[in-house]
Amino acid sequence: MTTTAVSKRRIDMPAVLAWFVVAMVVVGLFSRIFQPDLGVMDIPRLAICLAILAIAGVRYELGFMRNWVGDLILGLVTAISAWLLVTTVSNHQGDAALGFWALTAATWAASWLFVERLAIWKTRSPLSTRIINLAIPALFGISILVLWEIIVTGAGVPKVLLPAPSEIGVRLATSVPILWADFQQTFMKAVLAGYAIGCGSAFVAAILVDRVPFLRRGLLPVGNLVSALPIIGVAPIMVMWFGFDWPSKAAVVVIMTFFPMLVNTVAGLAASDAMQRDLMRTYASNYWQTLFKLRLPMAMPFIFNALKINSTLALIGAIVAEFFGTPIVGMGFRISTEVGRMNVDMVWAEIAVAALAGSLFYGIIALIERAVTFWHPSVRG
């Protein structure tokens, strides 16, 4: 493993970042960090740690430890600094002053510098390349969470406006049974059922539209119309039709997912070219043989596009639909009631669960897509 200097760039970003770290640390060391009157020298470990951080940051420019060991030390010191800032500020909520923000900026710039260095690491083994490729987005996400934590606590942002990630985390950990019940009600029942029915029926409809020409003119505009219906208007009607429990939410999801799937599948079925269809004709292939052996495989990239779009639409639809009448369980129900009770950390916990579930759902479908359309130029590349 070696590191190479970034060259041929108009602005030498790592150098700018390194000197920015030094400048911010200097500002931090010589100004007040907490109200009413607390300097960084009153918290010696923070002062020492940030001094080391400045040196580790600027070592490249000063010309020593220009290797991956130095980079790792930089990463380690950055992590310790961030940890010290987070723990210190929790004792001085809302009291942060100029020096503290300077030190925060220094730590943030140092983490950016570390990722810059990481990105140009050259490794020979594919495993470590893979680890680095995973580490970069992970570090990015972690630094956003840390910044969020420090800013919200340091500036004393009211909890109702934006709770700190640690508070959301605590709420997540202590409310697992409620969150799990909500997840089951909304995701496992409404979303999955609605998604399966919506995508499945749209697929069958697309085949019919393709087979029966008058449906293309009749059904497609109706599908278009249905997709344009506002969910806010449809959801209460579905509650009246299908009752308070999850079937009405599933119905909303069906309405939301139907049209993207229909349009994409119809487009996909038309994707095979004339030569391929002529080929099937010379084999005297019948309609179903051509459908299964040529047109459906050809349509798969389109179909998976719709499945991916729908995976996120379905979750949004189910959560919003729960605002219009529901039993006392469900992610949308919890969000609407906890907002009313000013329990914003619970709302954020539900949002976190929804984001995680949505991303996983999308990820699973994207994985299946890779396996099914391995032959497509966009995948095999």
Partner: protein, 279 residues
């Protein structure tokens, strides 16, 4: 008749094959007119053509002369607007439903989600052959086009020439009476094309199939064919039919021989004469 006159000039003999010919394709007074927004386009006009079993017939002509259209009419991919055509004594549609055709297109048109072996198996699956029969035919035809060992590869992992060979294997696997080839080597470079031409001749000798081959390359047409049909455009019609007196066993060296050059010359004359009016 310019065609007959020029045949006499060059001293070419019209009948060469003495074995009793079994008629495969009989085209009589056939015309095809496409109706377009700019008025009717006469793609084919008054085509008369007989093709016998075991013939290697090339259609040659400039772009727009209807050579591909004529091949597509034979394959029942286009419908003639006048005249008659029979294939094996029945209509092209019946012949198609009897799986009389192996069609090789300008591009390989292999399905990228199927391996080479699976691509060759495609028509066999449609025909509903047994697994064992499929396996046997795949192995035999992959061997025939020198692709043994590439069964598990995907089309996009092979070169253009190999892809086109795979598509020939796929056409042969049907065991058709007629192999129809529409500029199959048009997209390949000359070295690969020469090589595949030689292989195609060997294949023809081995299988004794009737081949109809569309090309716009004079050397390719003369090298491969037992009968060369020269077409000319606007309206698409037959200008000359040349029976080749070259031996069936040929290699690339034959292209230097005087007989070869004579035939090539007559083809070139035909193309030039058919093209010389209007523009």
């Amino acid at each position: 008749m310019t065609a007959l006159a020029s045949a006499k000039d060059t001293g070419m003999v019209e009948t060469t094959i003495s074995a009793s010919p079994n008629r495969v394709i009989d085209i009589d007074n056939l015309s095809l007119t496409f109706q377009t927004n700019d008025g009717p386009v006469h793609a084919l006009s008054d085509i008369d053509l007989k093709i016998d079993e075991g013939d290697f017939v090339s259609f040659i002509g400039p772009s727009g002369c209807g050579k591909t259209t004529l091949l597509r009419v034979i394959a029942d991919l286009e419908q003639p607007t006048a005249g008659s055509i029979t294939v094996n004594g029945v209509s092209p549609q019946e012949a198609r439903l009897n799986r009389a055709y192996g069609y090789v297109f300008q591009a390989a048109a292999l399905y990228p989600w199927r391996t080479i072996a699976k691509n060759v198996a495609l028509p066999l699956e449609i025909m509903g052959l047994s697994r064992a029969e499929q396996k046997e035919r795949i192995a035999r035809n992959m061997e025939l086009v020198n692709l043994a060992g590439f069964e598990k590869k995907y089309p996009w992992q092979l070169s253009g020439g190999m892809q086109q060979r795979a598509s020939i294997a796929r056409a042969l696997a049907v065991e058709p009476d007629l192999l129809l080839m529409d500029e199959p080597f048009g997209a390949l470079d000359e070295i690969v094309r020469d090589h595949l031409n030689e292989q195609l001749l060997q294949l023809w000798a081995k299988t004794n199939k009737t081949v109809v081959f569309v090309t716009h390359s004079i050397p390719e047409a003369v090298f491969l064919s037992s009968k060369i049909v020269v077409l000319c455009p606007r309206p698409g019609r037959i200008y000359d039919v040349i029976e080749s007196n070259l031996p069936r066993e040929r290699n690339l060296d034959i292209r230097e021989s005087p007989e070869f050059l004579k035939i090539a010359h007559r083809v070139r004359d035909g193309l030039r004469a058919g093209h010389s009016y209007e523009d």
